[in-house]
């Protein structure tokens, strides 16, 4: 069900959705969660692994430090509205800032989330 009514709340700090919208979120809910039974065969789902690559591989490194340094350097503390960080925010595609700590998982998830029109992305099992 792709149609998801996202509604803001009075405070705007909380985003609500009744159901996962992106494929990565769907995977979060069903892939490693649910009854684990000893007497069953798991379908091997080739290609799903890439969606669950953990963002842990983005480790704190000098590169990350430098991006943080750049981010605070760009802060204009005299103004409440600043545009300096905007370019760190994943092109402004998502409403909340991922900034210097953009996760691999989200990138991967979004790239693969080309809706259900997936005939060219079929994976066979076994």
């Amino acid at each position: 069900m792709a149609a998801v009514a996202t509604r803001g709340t009075s405070s705007n700090y909380l985003q609500r959705a009744p159901s996962p919208s992106g494929l990565a979120e769907v995977v979060d809910v069903i892939l490693d969660k649910g009854l684990v039974l000893d007497a069953y065969v798991r379908v091997s789902v080739i290609g799903i692994e890439v969606l669950t690559i953990d963002a842990r591989i983005v480790i704190a490194s000098v590169d990350t430090y430098l991006r943080f340094a750049e981010a605070v350097n760009r802060l204009d503390l005299t103004q409440t509205e600043t545009a300096g960080l905007a370019e760190l925010r994943d092109g402004g595609k998502k409403q909340e800032a991922k900034g210097a700590a953009e996760g691999v998982k989200e990138k991967v998830g979004r790239e693969h989330d080309s809706d259900d029109d997936d005939d060219d992305e079929e994976r066979s099992s076994r």
Binding site: M1, A2, S10, S11, Y13, L14, Q15, A17, P18, S19, P20, L23, E25, D28, V29, I30, L31, K33, G34, L35, V36, L37, A39, Y40, R42, V43, I48, A55, R56, I59, T64, Y65, L66, F68, A69, E70, A71, V72, N73, L75, T82, L85, L88, R89, E96, A97, K98, G99, A100, A101, E102, E106, H112, D116, D118, D119, E122, R123, S124, S125
Partner: protein, 247 residues
Amino acid sequence: MTAYVYGVVAAGADVPGVTGVGSAEVRLVAHDALAGLVSSVDADGLRVRRRDLRAHLTVLERAFARTTVAPCRFGTVFEDDEAVRQELLAPRASELAALLVRLEGRVQLALSVDHDEETLLRGVVAGDGEIAHLREATRDAGADAHAARVRLGELVASAVEARRRSDAEQVLAALAPVVETVDADETPWGHVLKASLLVPADVVPEVERRLEQLGAEAGGRLRFELVGPLPPTAFAELVDEEAAAWA
């Protein structure tokens, strides 16, 4: 015909009016008081598509809207309908029945908490003299300030991590009185918290209220995303009652 199992419900439950994995019809395979939500898949030519992931969740969501459901993981299959009865429903009957009782009237909420980076960094700079000083010193400096920049970034990264930890703790503490069970996922780098919450269905508005309050108190530093009510996929765990009794 291989039987794909979405979850377990009480026998006699409504069959959700949707197609499942591989666009197959969903039906009930019942044994005594329990039934598996099942559809047929061709074991020899099973091709899993992305839409099948959604279909799995949709079947669970539809069933969940009508009755209590104990979700199975994606990709759970048995040899045939008889195997669903003989290998799942019959031998695990008491555990499954107990699980359905535990999950009755409960819903799962997927919570994800993030920092608004700009608000976060403003707070970090304002709250640490050395960071503020290094920021000024490196701001308009050239390439020779590399070491100072690395030091600045290191301090900021560590302040951000400390903030992440304390914010995550604060969120969990604020929710603890109203949430029955928390299943915290490993927090992806750069996020504050990711967790599944199990709550009585009528408590959902209270969870929303508390998150909004936390957001207001944090002055825009925290952003919450709450998805649900979802079927309780993170809380479908069988407890071997005999083993538990001996423990």
